[in-house]
């Protein structure tokens, strides 16, 4: 199959006099592309088209505003926005200002947002007026944030720290002196854990540039690619669609949500989308559309899947529907972005494998004692590479549990916390998570986080949250609840209570009211057998 091959554009278009060098900082990829292709459309979003040069101008202006607002090198800039041009600009602007971007899912509710802002000690917040019911109370509790840029309005806010985002773009961008090296943090991405408290994954410029290089290389992404991204930018899978597109000089078609699959199909046909990254739930929704064949999706050349296993039936159906597209089944974790991909030609041979790794990375399985296992074994997957995170933000114990000494002196390697088996040729097959995290709609759900939300209901005496198989969601969230005497709630009331505190994908789909929960000998709630 004739495919456009990526030109090896890893060289910066540096100002005259400077030595041309390999790009080392993540935001330099945008600078280089903007220099090379200023008039090319970088981003299509909400009916508007943004060219590379104008995006870069916005990035520089916003970066200057952040600096004037007190953002210093290494400071965290929280980005609490729906998918949109503001989110894209803010991500690059934070880096341009020498700071660390911290994308927060726009579905996050007040209490968790306050926790994230406090835990990270964010110096700035970029957000939207439509989300004010969530961020205004959280901001009121926070004295650390010095500047808050609000998109969607030019009205004033009672909090003097808030200024309109549009005014921030209107300023002149004095040249900012760059002091960063690739060891500096580029991003802080929070991920749910078993303890119920999200942990911030620290990613350096080197981590992220390494990942961009490895992933775009094995996918064969090219300048001519048009990527449709309906994934949240707060999720690294969505985020990297933008990072890679801008590195290659491609175009991103950014969608806010997957609530209306028909609109996604229209966009794919209209923009002649070539790349579609999805999770199994999205593929289910699309394939449910009875009029799917009415849309001309002939330009689609690549479909990718990660975050949850793609059922064999899905793999088959997608290949029948889009015979001209290469399907990539992949696996990764936020702590290192991506780990492995299955070369599409292997789908006929071993469709349930996620591959044997990716460029510039080493993988192996270990037993409980940490001994390296031969092919044909089952064990925990360990990853070595420059894409592996710096650690968890201010959580040395959790970090030490995941980043452990590797085979070479002075090096740390990442323990994935996932069990895999390998076949005789070293291809990986996911077996199970070691922890109790549930994957619903491709999103991580911490049972403990949901249980904490349930316990905040006055009448709940005990709660246990488990995942139950669901044909569309992967796993659905089910809550078992024991109520205190004299209390009564409907299933719907309990779910709504959770929706008020948690992202929607974390709220239980089912609530079962029981008289008692099974216990272990030591009196802890026993979840095995609950379902």
């Amino acid at each position: 199959m004739n495919e456009p091959r990526a030109p090896a554009v890893w060289v910066s278009a540096a100002p005259p006099g400077e030595q041309v060098c390999t790009l080392t900082l993540l935001h330099h990829f945008l600078d280089a592309t903007a220099e090379r292709l200023p008039d090319k459309v970088a981003l299509v979003c909400a009916g508007k088209r943004y060219r590379y040069a104008e995006l870069k101008r916005s990035v520089d202006a916003l970066a200057a505003t952040l600096c004037r607002g007190g953002v210093r090198r290494g400071d965290r800039v929280a980005i609490f926005l729906e998918n949109g041009v503001e989110a894209v600009v803010s991500i690059y602007a934070a880096m341009r200002a020498g700071a660390v971007f911290m994308p927060i899912n726009p579905l996050t509710k007040g209490e968790k947002l306050a926790y994230l802002l406090n835990d990270s000690r964010a110096a700035a917040l970029v957000t939207h007026s439509l989300l004010r019911e969530v961020w205004e109370p959280a901001l009121a509790l926070n004295r650390r944030v010095q500047t808050c840029l609000v998109a969607g309005t030019d009205a004033a806010f009672p909090d003097a720290r808030c200024t309109p985002y549009c005014a921030a773009l209107d300023t002149s961008a004095e040249s900012l002196e760059e002091q960063l090296i690739d060891q500096d943090l580029a991003a802080l991405i929070y991920t749910s854990g078993s303890t119920g408290e999200p942990k911030g994954v620290m990613l350096t410029h080197l981590n992220m540039v390494s990942a961009v290089r490895s992933v775009s290389t094995y996918l064969g992404l090219a300048e001519s690619d048009v990527i449709l991204c309906g994934l949240p930018l707060a999720f690294d899978y969505g985020l990297y669609q933008v990072l890679m597109a801008f590195a290659m000089g491609g175009t991103i078609v950014l969608e806010r949500s997957f609530s209306f699959p028909v609109k996604i199909l229209e966009a794919m046909a209209r923009e002649r989308v070539t790349v579609f990254p999805g999770v199994p739930t999205m593929f289910s929704l699309l394939m449910d559309i009875r009029t799917l064949s009415n849309y001309d999706l002939g330009s689609l050349r690549m479909i990718t899947n990660t975050a949850a296993a793609l059922p064999e039936q899905h793999i088959h159906d997608l290949r029948v529907l889009f015979p001209q597209a290469r399907l990539f089944s992949m696996y990764g974790l936020t702590e290192c972005k991506r780990v492995s991909y299955l070369p599409p030609e292997q789908l006929d041979i071993r469709p349930t494998s996620v591959g044997r790794g990716m460029p510039n990375e080493e993988l192996w399985l270990v037993d409980e004692a940490g001994n390296r296992l031969p092919n044909g074994s089952t064990g925990e997957l360990v990853i070595r590479g420059s894409h592996v995170m710096r650690g968890y933000w201010e959580k040395p114990e959790e970090t030490a549990a995941r980043l452990r000494p590797g085979p070479f002196s002075g090096e740390k390697v990442l323990y994935s916390g996932d069990l895999f088996r390998t076949d005789e040729e070293g291809f990986l097959y996911f077996v199970a998570r070691k922890d109790d995290i549930i994957k619903s709609r491709g999103e991580k759900v911490s049972p403990r986080e949901v249980e904490n939300a349930l316990y905040s209901l006055g009448g709940v005496r005990e709660a246990a949250v488990v995942g139950v198989p669901d044909p569309v969601l992967g796993d659905a969230i089910k809550a078992f609840v024991v109520l205190r005497a004299g209390y009564h709630y409907s299933e719907r009331e309990v779910i709504k209570h959770c929706l008020a505190r948690l992202e929607n994908f974390m709220a239980p789909k089912y609530v079962a009211f029981v008289d008692a929960l099974p216990k272990t000998d030591t009196g802890k709630i026993k979840k095995t057998g609950l379902g």
């Binding site: 726009p106 579905l107 007040g110 439509l130 019911e133 969530v134 806010r256 949500s257 997957f258 609530s259 209306f260 699959p261 028909v262 609109k263 929704l285 559309i289 009875r290 009029t291 719907r492 709504k496 209570h497 929706l499 008020a500 929607n504």
Partner: protein, 83 residues
């Protein structure tokens, strides 16, 4: 007319509106913008429309113009019933 909007408002408040925040929404406001409905919520809304108003929602009609606000919903239901 009141009947359609009244029923819809009751359904949405009962199933999706949380106490305190999001307590009020205008007829013209977007459910998506206000985070009142997500992809699962819209599917539940479609089921409600089909069951309570006796219409069949075609794939190509599952668009924000028809489903993302009280005004949109009322106009959509009226059009379907008139057809």
């Amino acid at each position: 007319m009141q009947d359609i909007k009244g029923k819809l408002r009751a359904f949405i408040i009962d199933n999706f509106i949380l106490s305190g925040q999001f307590a009020e929404f205008q007829d013209g406001e977007s459910f998506m913008d206000r985070h009142i409905l997500d992809s699962t919520g819209f599917l539940e809304l479609i089921t409600f429309l089909e069951e309570h108003f006796g219409i069949e929602v075609a794939d190509e009609e599952m668009v924000p113009e028809n489903l993302d606000s009280m005004n949109g919903l009322e106009a959509y239901v009226l059009r379907k019933r008139a057809a």
